[in-house]
Amino acid sequence: MLDSINSQTSVLSADRVSKSFGTIPVLFSVSFDIVAGEVHALIGENGAGKSTLMKTLAGFHQPTSGSIKLDGNTIDLPPNGQSENLGIVLIHQELNLAEQMTVEENIFLGRELSSRGILDRQKMEAVVRSLLDDIGVDILPTDRIADLSIAKKQMVEIVKAISRNARVLIMDEPTAVLTEAETELFFNQVRRLKEQGVAVVFVSHKLAEVKAIADKVTILRDGQWITTKSADELTLDSMAQMMVGRELSDMFPPMNEPDVDAERILEVQGLLAPETKNVNFYLKKGEILGFSGLVGSGRTAVFEAICGLSEISAGKITFRGDETRFNSVAAARDAGVVYLTKDRKEKGLLLNEGMRTNLSLLALPKFIRNMLLDSKLESDALTRAIRRFDIRSRDPEVKAKDMSGGNQQKLLLAKIMESDPRIVIIDEPTRGIDVGTKQQIYHFIAALAAEGVSIVLISSEMPEVIGMCHRVAVMREGRITGILSGDDINESEIVRYAAGLKEAETNG
């Protein structure tokens, strides 16, 4: 089935590889060829087996059946990243750099150059400098990793891989945390590597990027190989369809306009808090209000301040007609205002706990009977949440860290909903989530709004904001530069406000 591909020489290939964890099969006889000088994208929904396949190809997992071939010869890859010595480098989504050390120290970590037992810093620095110059990024060997932006950290990882003479570079969602400009910079590096004959494999949920950079695309679904095609033959729609295995007719649910005279449930005037300056807006009952703008423009800060997570220095917040300040998250929750963080792993879920503990945590007082927690109430809530939010897990006792990103997000959504909120603030609800789950989440949000819950949707994904929101507030440098509605909600308008080319006079 892969004849056309096999005719080229593949550096590294998986030959009918299956992988099970315990009794649970994750990959079913998947074949995958990596060719030198080619960019190969691996796409699929969360839980499709992409990470497992990548880790198998890099030796972190051993295949249950099938084999891995390097230069055509069957090989047992050494575990724990020692495949780097064979030129196979896996860059994890969570970057693997020592934050407090310099770029040079990181690149040479574990194989420092030394003479007579003393580190040869000059030589190492020179090598790193020339590598960085080659790539043309503006990073110094002496920069501390902690001071670099995420994009630059990623560059350092790539340089590190190159310095180890990587022939195969496997990357897990390298662009998930990058801005558009950073992504472009990153793609330039990928193209350079490709010219040098390095084989690049990467996972991404951003199909437009896949289309733009990949030569070949492999689609996995539920651990099965679906297809491997040249990127030219695929359209964004066909990729999405094959990933999900069904028609994705409407990504966004139909928009349900709130009443023109619906009450203003929340009104904010002159809000002054960390990273925000003079923020004014209102939110109507049953409305979905988008918050757009660049990363760091203060969108999250506004709502952290409103929800009692940071100090407010000035401003007036009117909630259901009364002036209010929520001094704590608990006070905001009791009033029905909840914030769903964008940082699922660091601020959202207790990764070592199961679904039940995570689900009830925010609304825990609700589960108390006679001063004690009622575990039956908690179990019932979980059964309901699993059904309502379609949380799919193999094992009801699964720890949050072992769940896929999509299921984590659904669990987080369920957790927030346990407190019966009137206003839900959702921050980047679909970051790192596959198309199918994205669509589900959009439908949950729309359904909530239809029930009369007011939603604030903070998002960096333009289509999401445009497709979901009744009105969109655009922020720049801590201020709202404009609030768009109706036909004005389009990409070019939002970009103009976000980039500071345009600013509504009322906020000037």
């Binding site: 964890f21 315990g22 997570l309 704590s328 998250v329 608990a330 905001a332 929750r333 914030y339 963080t341 940082d343 660091e346 601020k347 959202g348 879920l349 207790l350 990764l351 070592n352 706990e353 503990t357 009830s360 945590l361 925010l362 825990l364 007082p365 589960f367 108390i368 001063m371 004690l372 927690l373 179990s379 059964t383 094992d395 009801p396 006792e397 957790k415 407190s419």
Partner: protein
């Protein structure tokens, strides 16, 4: 579907129960068998009662330490705190003698002041770590030094002794039995049950675990992190004061050497019991077993000539290291198979 879900849950609980809970219990059982084989007198009623009574001090303190450690903190000051509370209690009771005589009233005044001191000392530790934003290790290292030097100062470098009249009234609290069990054992049992309920069945316990797992998640989930953390230290202080109340009638005195190393024994009991040192997971049942294991080692060494009694610390140290090592190994293998 719902049925199978519930069944699965129950099965998984059983398995977890096996691996994590049974470890310390098996260790204790083994120790008892060894003790019995070395000297059958080990299993005599008198010795078992004695063993339980001795475990009570460390056990009660360790129950408090379980809360502190589960919530991601540490309290190094408990030994010194016990010493200073003992000392102040004795001073207060001796002074109360002139007004209230050597009767129950004086003893109650002493106990009351002990509880107030314990709560206060715990609150100070909690306040400095949360509002003062100083690491718990440093705060309690500081208070440990302060309390230890205070008791030395109060005793003027010597020993504070309880007046003989009061001693007579107070003595039964340590030496008397109730339904066949010494009073300290009852206190230990009650503290354990209450502690277990508090950690496993209340929102407070859940919040402790949440904070220990990830403070940011707790904060974003409407948990008042500072208050809960402070409360863990207050509970620790209360436990120390309870331990002190049953300890003082034993010797009727306090000195600079009272409660030395108790903090480490308490922490050791918690860790042997399976609570994770960096927080997020706590087990009161394990802590109790841990305290019993530590006391049993000392007790066995007293019974046999095989190993010198002076090597008690060595044996305890080895047990701590082995216990933690076994828990690690266990985690690794279970990760591999799933």
């Amino acid at each position: 579907m719902d049925d199978s879900l519930v069944k699965n849950t129950a099965q998984n609980r059983m398995m977890k129960f096996d691996i994590k809970t049974m470890g310390p219990a098996i260790a204790l059982l083994l120790l008892c068998i060894i003790g019995y084989l070395l000297n059958p007198a080990f299993a005599s009623e008198g010795n078992i009662t004695n063993l339980l009574t001795r475990s009570a001090f460390i056990g009660i303190i360790a129950v408090g330490a379980t809360f502190v450690i589960t919530a991601g903190g540490i309290d190094l000051s408990v030994g010194s705190m016990a010493a200073v509370i003992s000392g102040v209690m004795i001073i207060i009771m001796n002074n109360a003698m002139s007004t209230f005589g050597g009767g129950v009233t004086t003893v109650l005044i002493g106990c009351g002041s002990s509880i107030i001191l314990g709560l206060g000392a715990g609150w100070i530790n909690g306040f400095l770590t949360t509002k003062g934003k100083i690491e718990a290790f440093i705060v309690t290292l500081g208070t440990m030094g302060i309390y230890r030097s205070l008791v030395t100062y109060f005793a003027d470098g010597g020993t504070l002794s309880l007046d003989f009249a009061i001693r007579g009234t107070y003595r039964p609290v340590y030496y008397d039995s109730f339904f066949g069990l010494p009073i300290p054992v009852w206190v230990f049992a009650i503290v354990s049950v209450l502690g277990w309920m508090l950690l496993n069945r209340t929102a407070f316990g859940r919040y402790c675990m949440a904070i220990g797992s990830n403070e940011a998640v707790a904060k974003y989930s409407a948990v008042n992190v500072d208050r809960i953390k402070t409360l863990t230290y207050v509970i620790q202080g209360l436990c120390v004061s309870l331990a002190t109340i049953i300890y003082v009638p034993r010797l009727g005195s306090a000195s600079a050497s009272t409660g030395v190393m108790w903090e480490l024994e308490a922490i050791a009991a918690v860790i042997i019991g399976g609570t994770v040192l960096k927080g997020g997971y706590g087990r009161i049942g394990g802590t109790i077993l841990g305290a019993l294991i530590l006391t049993t080692i000392g007790n066995i060494l007293n019974f046999t000539d095989l190993i010198s009694n002076y090597l008690n610390g060595t044996m305890q140290g080895l047990i701590i290291i082995i216990a933690v090592w076994l828990q690690r190994a266990d985690f690794r293998s279970s990760n591999k198979t799933t």
